[in-house]
């Protein structure tokens, strides 16, 4: 069961009316290394991983939904009052003719989200290495989006999200160590 809380994880602010940034941010909404992929990847892998790391996958997967809501908030704020002309000028004309100002799970290039973005190999080490890679790829994506943006408030929230990738990556790396059973144990050969 999941319980919703009417609150963002981080206070998202946007300082400029710039719908073009929404076009870039969509990458982290419905892209391969975006927050939707992350949430679904971890919560799905829970069912075929040793009990010792199910809690971690549950908690990080749940946090990813909070990040998805932050990205949605950024896109919502950047496009809320954008006219069709502004959407077109921002490169969002293709989006507009299908969705008006509605959000949709696709990447910055308009490719719809697909389950092929995520893997569940059923092998704990393979899955955790996939998760580590996913965190590093999301970290890099946040860097490239920050490179495209001059909005100080938006970049502040994007830095928060990038830092979360660093922490999650460490936790998944620790999970690998736990499964190797080297942690808290003397090495005996």
């Amino acid at each position: 069961m999941w319980i919703y809380e009417k609150k963002l994880q981080y206070p998202v602010k946007v300082s400029t009316c710039n719908p073009m940034l929404a076009k870039f941010l969509i990458e982290q909404y419905g892209g391969a290394d975006g927050e939707l992929s992350a949430a679904l990847r971890y919560l799905n892998q829970r069912y075929s991983i040793p009990d010792r790391v199910i809690g971690l996958l549950t908690d990080i997967g749940t946090e990813e939904f909070a990040h998805l809501e932050m990205i949605a908030t950024m896109i919502y704020k950047l496009t809320k009052d954008a006219t069709p002309e502004q959407m077109k000028a921002a490169g969002l004309g293709d989006h507009y003719v299908n969705h008006d100002n509605g959000l949709f799970y696709h990447n910055a290039a308009g490719a719809p989200w697909t389950a092929t973005y995520i893997q569940a190999k059923g092998d704990p080490i393979a899955d955790l290495y996939e998760d580590i890679a996913a965190e590093e790829k999301a970290r890099a994506t946040y860097q490239w989006i920050i490179n495209m943006s001059d909005d100080p408030d938006l970049n502040d929230a994007l830095r928060f999200l990038r830092e979360r990738e660093i922490v999650h990556s460490l936790r998944f790396r620790e999970a690998v160590e736990i499964l190797k059973e080297e942690k808290d144990k003397k090495r005996i050969f």
Binding site: I3, K6, K7, Y10, P11, L56, I60, H168, R171
Partner: protein, 87 residues
């Protein structure tokens, strides 16, 4: 748009976000370090802190959670705007 929130809402909400963020961080850490008693003590301390802040936020904003995890006002005020992406 129905109600505008007073400035103190934003301040209180940010305090709650800060405490809840510490809880998330300690939670993920403890998932991998279940025997760190000091971190557990700290976690339980912030659970208490969040209860106080949550009551303060709800007195201005209405219920933060659904499905019986928050008390309701009369009339039912869970459905009231603004939602998190609107505030």
């Amino acid at each position: 748009m129905t109600k505008q929130l007073p400035p103190e809402f934003y301040e209180l909400m940010e305090q709650l976000q800060a405490v809840d963020f510490v809880l998330v961080e300690l939670n993920l850490y403890l998932d991998n370090h279940p025997n760190d008693s000091e971190a557990i003590r700290q976690f339980n301390h912030y659970v208490k802190e969040r209860k106080k802040l949550r009551n303060a936020v709800e007195s201005i904003y209405g219920p933060l959670m659904h499905f019986g995890h928050s008390y309701s006002g009369d009339p039912w005020n869970w459905i009231d705007a603004p939602w998190p992406w609107q505030v």
